[in-house]
């Protein structure tokens, strides 16, 4: 039998990258939108917002592998983004490393920190581990503030001069087909290309032996051990992958923001919670869920700020607008508070009413459509 025929015989939706026609169509559409958006939306502010969403998506895919596929919750994700950001600041901007080199550095340093958390992941169950990842936030904050020679301390660090070129292509000043793109548009492309690569890597790991082992550890750790899956190895591996992706995401985020500076641990904790909200709303246990979550929730603060006008209707009794654009507007909520509250509310509401997130909704919708038209109703639960 030919290997092609073998492959066809064993093919299941969980094994294929794009399991069916509809998924392939949706993917094609996504690629098209990606290519066209900078051409249509010629606005640097929104380009930056979308590039940030891409950076968040890269990091969210990492968290999704850790939490969704291996069942370990982390509140240290924001700290890893910070580490990635300073890595590009130090190597990329200060030392002029080429793009491939600082990206690799961000990935490797992220992975190393992840491996360092690993031993705790083995010894500690669930809740204790969550607090150790919280410790990472505090410790990172302390190091960032005090290791001034590398981080610039309280003053922060400009990332602007880091190279964005790979080979002949410079994302800082793209020229394609005689058209010039702004830095923001270039970074948008860069970020979303990295999203695609990260998603591909994530998906490949998930559909092969290591990913299956991680899911086994998540579902039943003792049983996994008994059939020969080492909990130790895969818990640490999940932290390493997740942290590497967070490091890359953080580097991209810093590039997009052009500047990186320390924020207090509470803010870092809230940023970590935002990542948790992203993967929950997007849908745990899927890679594309993390991307959808990041795309929808990543730009939330900017969207709320931009569209604060929509919420500035006056609430009768207190006679103040619901959301005030600026302190002078005297809104019940400031735009920043309102978006944070939205994160919290979305997190709680999704966990209670739609724990499978948007990916789960899509799955159910497709199953219903398939049921009606009698197409192959294969659902893909774990991809």
């Amino acid at each position: 039998m030919s290997s092609r025929a073998d492959a066809a015989r064993v093919a299941t939706p969980s094994m294929k990258l794009l399991p069916d026609k509809l998924t392939r169509m949706m993917f094609g559409l996504a690629v098209l939108i990606f290519l066209v958006t900078p051409l249509v939306l010629d606005d640097d502010f929104w380009m930056t917002v979308l590039a940030n969403a891409g950076a968040f998506a890269v990091a969210s895919i990492g968290l999704s592998i850790l939490t969704g596929f291996t069942g370990q919750v982390s509140l240290g994700h924001a700290a890893l983004l910070t580490i990635g950001g300073y890595t590009v600041g130090y190597f990329g901007a200060d030392h002029g490393w080429p793009m491939w080199a600082w990206m690799l550095a961000a990935i490797l340093i992220g992975a190393l920190v992840g491996v360092a958390i690993g031993p705790f992941a083995l010894r500690l169950k669930g809740n204790y581990l969550v607090v150790v990842t919280l410790a990472l936030v505090f410790i990172t904050g302390y190091v960032v503030e005090n290791w001034t020679s590398v981080t610039g301390g309280f003053d922060g660090k400009s990332v602007n001069s880091a190279s964005l070129a790979i080979g002949p292509v410079d994302f800082g000043e793209l020229h394609i087909f005689g058209r010039d793109f702004s830095r923001e548009q270039g970074i948008f492309y860069l970020c979303w290309i990295m999203v695609a690569l990260t998603a591909l890597v994530g998906r490949n790991i998930i559909r092969t032996r290591p990913g299956r082992a991680m899911r086994a550890v998540r579902d039943r750790d003792v049983a996994a051990e008994v059939i020969g899956v080492s909990n130790a190895r895969y818990k640490i591996a999940a932290f390493a992958i997740s942290s590497a992706m967070a490091g890359l995401g953080g580097a991209l985020y810093a590039i997009s923001l052009r500047f990186i500076s320390p924020s207090n641990p509470a803010a870092e904790l809230f940023l970590s919670i935002r990542f948790v909200a992203i993967i929950i709303v997007g849908g745990l246990g899927t890679i594309y869920g993390a991307v959808i979550g990041a795309l929808l929730l990543g730009p939330l603060p900017e969207l709320v700020q931009e569209f604060a006008g929509l919420f500035d209707f006056t609430i009768p009794i207190v006679d103040r607008p619901l959301v005030g654009d600026s302190p002078a507007d005297n809104g019940i909520f400031s735009a920043a508070s309102f978006s944070e509250i939205l994160f919290g509310v979305l997190l709680v509401v999704f966990l209670i009413f739609a724990p499978e997130g948007i990916a789960g909704m899509i799955r159910r919708l497709r199953r219903r459509l398939a049921g009606r038209s009698n197409v192959d109703p294969d659902n893909v639960s774990d991809n």
């Binding site: 073998d6 969980s14 299956r212 051990e225 008994v226 059939i227 909990n231 774990d382």
Partner: protein, 256 residues
């Protein structure tokens, strides 16, 4: 040299907070043999299994498998040596489908690591396809191929029991531990499972050690029977010898 037993358990004692769950347990399992362990609730049967595959560490004693000491080894390591197990209350990966569950049984026979997996093209893909073919055969053999990509947690209990057997088969063990393979099954499921276990034995060269409450089932299927009570071995022998052993009858019917 005298022929060595596949598994030899000697003077094994397991304690929980001063109470012995197993006390000086001695027995051997020969290659290809089916040995059944019976005994009243709380006799120590599941504890024995947990010692064999490294979930518990006995206080003292020795467990040799193909001449290798198992006491002190981690479960994953013991699995790699060729001991597979099913669980009393099922230990499947509920969110994964049948093939993925079986594939996990082959985990220790595969090599793809993070890097190869991330790249996919090449070795990872080849290995994935080759092993999926094997799992598909097992699924067909156990009549499980009809369940497609449904998460196994949603399948009926009897089917899940069969998937667990399949996962153990996928591990290609030399010794298979079955913890109550027919518990909680109706008569029809029970008959299917009996036939399957006999078929597995006929097709593959492996020894089976099984724990079961259902004495009928044990008598029909076992080469030898070992009876545990209060953590001690009270009788060993062929089914017809054991069933008339006075201590066994007393243990089952109660001393009262």
């Amino acid at each position: 040299m005298a022929e060595r037993s596949l598994l030899s358990v000697s003077a094994t004692t397991l304690e929980f907070g001063g109470v012995s769950a197993l006390l000086d347990v001695d027995f051997e399992v020969e290659s290809g043999e089916l040995l059944a362990v019976i005994g009243p609730n709380g006799a120590g049967k599941t504890s024995l299994f947990n010692c064999l595959n490294g979930v518990y560490t006995p206080r003292h004693g020795s467990i040799l498998f193909e001449g290798i000491e198992l006491v002190g080894k981690r479960p994953a390591r013991i699995a790699n040596l060729g001991i597979a197990r099913t669980f009393q209350n099922l230990a499947l990966f509920a969110n994964l489908d049948v093939i993925d569950n079986l594939m996990l049984g082959r985990h220790h026979l595969m090599k793809t690591g993070l890097a190869a997996g991330a790249i996919w093209v090449g070795r990872a893909k080849r290995e994935e396809i080759a092993n999926r073919l094997i799992c598909k055969d097992i699924a067909e053999f156990l009549d499980l191929d009809q369940f497609g990509s449904t998460p196994v947690g949603l399948l009926p209990y009897g089917i899940q029991k069969r998937i667990e057997l399949g996962r153990a088969m996928a591990m290609e063990p030399t010794l298979l531990l079955l913890d109550e393979p027919v518990a909680g099954m109706n008569l029809e499921e029970r008959n299917t499972m009996t036939a399957l276990i006999q078929q597995v034995r006929a097709e593959r060269d492996m020894a089976i050690l099984l724990v079961e409450h259902d004495v009928d089932f044990v008598m029909a299927i076992a080469d030898r029977v070992l009876v545990l009570n209060f953590g001690r071995v009270i009788a060993t022998g062929t089914p017809d010898v054991v069933t008339v052993h006075p201590e066994v009858v007393a243990a089952y019917l109660g001393a009262g």
